[in-house]
Structure formats: C-alpha cells, structure tokens
C-alpha cells in the first residue's frame, strides 16, 4: 500500500486552514470526522469487532487534558503536553486493560462489554463525583490563567484544528505501518478465521489488542482536541455520548471499511451531507446518520473506496489503500 494520497490530503487541509482562516472551522469539522473514521477503522475495519463504547476513549482524552488544565495550574503552559500525554495514557491503559480480557470474547459479547464499560465509567465519574462529577470541567477561566488570554484563544481555535489534522495524519501512518508489517497479515487472518489463525502461531488477542490500543490512543487525541481544547469544557454526558461511534461507522462505511482512503472520502462526503440536510431539512438532520449507516450496511457494505478498489487494476489499487 502507498499512503501518499491520504497523507497528502491531510497535509493540504492543514495548509488550507492556514491560508484561509475563515474556513478553518469547516476544515476542523471535516478533519474531525475523517480522523474519527480513521481511528474507528483501525479497530473495527481491521479486526471485525465493533466497539460501541468507543466514546469512552474520546472521553479519556478529553479528561486527560481537562484534568491537567483544571487541577495542575502550577504547570502553566505545560498542562497542554502533559494533558495530551495523560489522555493518551488513560485511553491506552484503558484499552489494554479492557482488551486483554474482553477481546477474548466473541464479537457480540465484546460489543456489549464495551457499551457497559462506557456507561460504567460515566456513572462512576458522576456517581463518585470525580473529575468534576456531573458538573464536568469548565476550563475557560483556567486556560486564561495558564496560557494567557490570547494564547488560550489561539490554541482553542487554530491549535485544536492542527491537533485534529495531525491525529488523522498519524492514524494513516499507523495504519500503513500496521498493514505492511506482519501485523497486517495476522489481522487479515484473524478476521477471516480466528481458530485457524491460532494454530498457525498467531496470538489473536495480541494483534487485536494492538489495533484496539492504537485506535484508542488516536481517539484520545481527538477527544483532547475537541472537548477541552476547542470547547474548553468537558461534560460526562457529552464526552461519553454513545453516538460518536455511529458517526465513525457512517464515515467508515461510506468510504469503505478496512481501507485508509475510505475514511477520507467518507469524511469529505459526510460533513457536507449533514450540513446540506441541516440547512434545507433541519428537522430531518438527525435522521441522516442512522439512515445512512443502515442503507450502507444493507446495500453497499463495501463503500465508495471499497467498490472503486475492486474495479481498479492491481497496480493502481496500491495507490488507493
């Protein structure tokens, strides 16, 4: 596979965001859905498991940075890198912990387990009142104090857009590395026949865990970018909102599950589609995502890029990974 097309897309969006700052908001939105699709694809597309509790990892990223900003004011500007790392560590750690045990389950059980974990974490945060409990973290004041008003506002606008684009970019690189190494073969084998893969010397849990953890870490970055950084707030009800997985699946299936370019094509179509419906049929906007996912799964499970790839000659297929 050749990752140049997707990498070039993210890079040019970054350039565009700087040349045309008034479009940066739109670019951030599109990039968010692309990167979301990318992160979801790394796990769902490559392993065939669904993580309905996906939002928990966005939330870990959100809380990682949020907690740093809210509770470590002495770090000043350093709350940003520390918070990002903290978010990734929380998400990665959670993924490892859940994955090591739950990835042995059949996919239907796994799906329930992840929904349960998402809910359990949310309930724990609210119920035990940790990290702000149900009040969430409202960070505007702290950010002004720690970064200075102008820097805070800059990070919140441009900074978050850059972080989202970088996440998408890194996710492509990661998928590329994953696919072109042994892990790519292992994951393909596991997806098709897990028992046979086992006797061939593949440890399925290890590779599923790898994909799961990677996907989670990218989700954490997205969570950090969107909630504490851009919105300057983290609330349990929004950060743990189950619906994100539906958006991610919509983008992934629209473009093509298991492909890298798919999430990009998916994001480029999904956002305008939602905007269009929101503009002209506002009452019907919330129908778009579920309806789209349902129709895609029923009638075009391969998605745009998936279909395109089956039609391309082998040589070109490598360029549209």
């Amino acid at each position: 596979m050749k990752p140049y097309l997707p990498l070039a897309t993210y890079s040019s969006l970054l350039v565009l965001a700087f040349i045309k700052p008034d479009m940066s908001q739109t670019i951030a939105t599109i990039a968010f859905y692309m990167a979301l699709g990318q992160a979801v694809n790394i796990f769902v597309g490559l392993t065939g498991y669904v993580n309905f509790g996906y939002a928990a990892f966005l939330a870990m990223g959100a809380y990682g940075l949020g907690v740093a900003i809210a509770y470590m004011p002495q770090l000043g500007v350093w709350t940003l890198p520390v918070g990002l790392l903290l978010g990734m560590a929380l998400a990665g750690g959670l993924a490892l912990a859940i994955g090591a045990v739950a990835l042995r389950l059949r996919s239907a059980y796994f799906a329930i387990a992840t929904i349960g974990i998402n809910e359990a974490l949310k309930d724990l945060i609210i119920g035990a009142g940790i990290w702000g409990g149900s009040s969430g973290l409202v960070l505007g004041y702290n950010m002004f104090q720690e970064y200075g008003r102008d820097t805070a506002l800059f990070l919140s606008t441009v900074g978050s857009t850059v972080l989202i684009l970088a996440t998408g970019f890194l996710a492509v690189v990661a998928t590329y590395l994953l696919q072109s190494k042994e892990a790519g073969y292992a994951l393909a084998a596991i997806r098709q026949d897990e028992d046979a893969a086992k006797v061939m010397g593949i440890n399925p849990t290890k590779y599923k865990l790898l994909a799961f953890t990677l996907s989670s870490i990218f989700s954490a970055l997205l969570g950090s970018a969107v909630f504490p950084l851009a919105a300057t707030q983290v609330f349990p009800d929004t950060a743990f909102k189950v619906d994100y997985i539906l958006d991610g699946l919509a983008v992934m299936f629209l473009g093509g599950a298991g492909t890298v370019t798919g999430a990009i094509a998916g994001g480029l179509l999904y956002v305008p589609l939602r905007l269009f419906v929101g503009q002209f049929f506002p009452n019907y906007q919330s129908l778009v995502t579920p309806l789209l996912v349902l129709l895609l799964v029923l009638f075009a499970p391969r998605g745009i890029i998936g279909e395109l790839r089956t039609r391309l000659p082998l040589k070109l297929r490598d360029w549209v990974p």
Partner: protein, 400 residues
C-alpha cells in the same frame, strides 16, 4: 442592519421552552423594527434575527454559534435555552469576541469564567428559591425543615445549592438533599427519602418533564408538606392540564409574569430610562409571532419575556454606545440603569450579571397561576399550608 444570531433550541428536550424563547426574541425585534429600528450613532438601523435549530444539543449549539459568527457574520448572539447549552456556547462568543446575551439559562457558572463577552439579563440560578424561602420565613416562623430534590443538571444544581445555603442562613434545617439524573423516569427512591424525613417544605429544582414526574410521585407515595415548590414545571400551563387539581397549591418562582407591572411611569418615578415595548405591546407582539409560527394562540411566559429582554438589552447598549462594536456596547451597558417591561437592568461590570432583577413567587390557585409574593406585586395571598394530596385529588381548590 444589526444582525443577532441564535442557535435556538427549537427541537429536542427543550423544544417547548426553546420555542417560547425564539418567539419572545422575535417579538422584541418586530417591535423595534416597527418603531423605526435602532438609533445607532444618529442613524436608524433595522434589526434582523437569524436562528438555526440546535436540537437542544450543547455541542451542536456551539458549532452553530461558531458558524453564525464565521459564516453569517452576526453582530451579536442570543444564547439558546438551557444552561447546559448556554455554557457550551459561551466560550465561542468569547473566542470570537462577539457579545452574547444569555437568556433562558442562568447557571451561575456561565458567569464565573471571566468571560468578557457574556452578559446575563436575569437572576442567576442560585437565587431561584430565595424568594420562596423568604416568603415562608415571613408567613410561618414555625416551619423548620426543608427537603430539596434536584435534577442533576447545570441549572438545577445551582438552584439547589443556592436554596440550601439560603435556607440554612434563614435558620431552616435541610433534611434531604438528593439529586436525580435529568432524564430519569423514576424518582421513587428519592421521594421515599423525602417521605422518611417528614419535612415542612419541599423544594424541587427541576425542568418541565421531571418536575411533573416528581409531583406525580409525591402524590403517589402520598408525601405531604406545608409547601411544595418547583422551578420551571409549575410555570408551564401544561402542568395544570396534566395534573388537574393535583397542581393546586404548588408554588413556582418566576422571573416574570404577564401579571407583573413594570411601566414607563414606574421608570420615570425611579428616574431611569424606559426602553422597548410596554407589557401589553409585548404580549400583543408575542401572540402575533406565536400565531404565525405555530398557528396557536399562546400567552407569553417568563421565557418569552426573558428572551425579549435579552434582545432589548443588547439594542439598548447599541443605542447608548452609538456603535455595534462589542467592546463599546458592553461598556455602555456597564454604565446603564434602565427599565423594560421585564424589569430593571443594571449590570455587574465584572461578571456581566444583571443585579437589579428580582423574582416573583407564583402559586396555582383555583386553576390560575397567580403572583403571591412579594406582597407589592402580589395578585393574591399565599395559600398556606397546602391542602393534602387526598383533598386535592377530591377536587378541593387552594382558594384563599
């Protein structure tokens, strides 16, 4: 042309209240335009309101606000209904330096972030039950215990904690202080806690649906008290329709009632400016807008008045500053004291809150919601202590 944008919550959880908010704002804009617009530095300028549905969704509200600013280049923002939505939108206003009037939302936290471009036009959530407690204190010195139930959301948390502190200051003992999740469908456990404690007063910090649920459950479990008060729910006309005579005696604090009388004369008496429509003009304009938008005849409630107040405050600021520059407008507002049909406006320059606003207490009496406190504004006397549930179920009315 002055453009005000709002990510209105016209569908979803807050749709009922959100629509009143929108229509109230529209009524104010229509009145201004019918009266020639706003005098901005000597020029009469018309006003336009742009709204987009945020579906009662906080994140969507924030991103709509962002696009109202970057795409539609609005001059001002009006917050959507609901504190959770408003608090999500406030950083957007701040990031882009666009002045936002907060209406239909009053969580104290909105005003504690040190934001320069967010201003509040009514009392903060923590004050909601103050007047109710003050009232009880003054009519029944023997009342001792208070039970507080609250929906665990941005608004009601502050209502509850404000009520708790104030109650303790007044010498009440708070015997129950229980949260329930905002979207819950069963509050039996919480109500059983209240029943256990036999309080004199029950205060419920709620929105509409959950408020009705708590009322029903109090009735089902036969939990009586000398006074039962709820935020939001009893102020919605549907509350009485749904509960019938069970709603009798129920008390609700309100920002504004059509029965409250602020007038140009009163302003003159106080020696301050009067701005915008009179009460009757507003009711008129509102009913027209509501009819046009929904085909129904709707009487404006406090949300509608509040929203109109938001628009009027911004425009008063423009008129006074002679400019639409947000910094100048804010400064102008910080130095003003004026009155509208909604009441008086005087801004705390640090947190942007209106300090001149006061709330009234209403009670359902014989199928009518009447103002019972403060006595200066009262349409009727408080009915106290309340009838029991079985008396109400039998059709007795709380007519003093």
């Amino acid at each position: 042309m002055i453009v005000i944008g709002t990510p209105a919550a016209i569908s979803g959880r807050y749709s009922t209240e959100g629509q009143y908010i929108l229509w109230g704002a529209m009524a104010a804009v229509n009145w201004i335009n019918d009266h020639g617009g706003i005098n901005c530095g000597g020029k009469m300028v018309k006003v336009r309101l742009i709204y987009r549905d945020s579906q009662s969704n906080a994140q969507l509200a924030a991103s709509i606000a962002e696009s109202l600013i970057t795409q539609d280049h609005v001059n001002f923002l009006l917050s959507p209904y609901g504190s959770d939505l408003a608090i999500a939108v406030s950083p957007v206003a701040e990031k882009y330096g666009v002045l936002m009037a907060v209406v239909g939302a009053s969580s104290d936290r909105i005003f504690q972030q040190g934001f320069k471009y967010v201003i509040g036009v009514a009392s903060p959530a923590s004050h909601y039950f103050w007047s109710v407690l003050d009232m009880v204190r003054s009519i029944d010195p023997s009342a001792k215990t208070v039970a507080i139930l609250y929906s665990d959301d941005e608004f009601d948390r502050y209502v509850a904690s404000g009520a708790k502190t104030h109650a303790q200051q007044l010498g009440f003992q708070v015997v129950v202080y229980d949260p329930y999740p905002p979207t819950t469908q069963d509050v039996t456990s919480q109500v059983l806690d209240v029943k256990n404690a036999h309080p004199d007063i029950i205060l419920v910090a709620a929105h509409y649906a959950d408020g009705q649920l708590v009322t029903q459950t109090l009735y089902q479990q036969n939990v009586t008290a000398k006074l039962i008060a709820l935020t939001v729910a009893p102020l919605v006309p549907d509350y009485y329709k749904a509960l019938g005579t069970l709603a009798e005696c129920i008390v609700g604090p309100s920002h504004w009632e059509p029965g409250v009388n602020y007038s140009p004369e009163l302003a003159k008496q106080k020696g301050i400016d009067w701005f915008g429509p009179t009460r009757d003009e507003f009711i008129n304009y509102f009913e027209q807008v509501a009819k046009q938008m929904s085909g129904k005849t709707v009487e404006p409630g406090y949300e509608a008045g509040w929203a109109a107040e938001g628009v009027l405050v911004l425009l008063y600021g423009v008129q006074k500053a002679g400019s639409v520059d947000p910094n100048l407008v804010r400064q102008a507002l910080a130095n003003s004291d004026f009155m509208t049909f909604f009441g008086e406006f005087k801004m705390n320059a640090t947190n942007g809150l209106n300090v001149a606003h006061s709330m009234v207490v209403t009670q359902w009496q014989g199928g009518q919601r009447v103002v019972i406190w403060p006595s200066s504004a009262a349409q009727s006397k408080p009915f106290y202590p309340s009838l029991t549930w079985s008396q109400k179920a039998a059709g007795q009315l709380c007519k003093p």
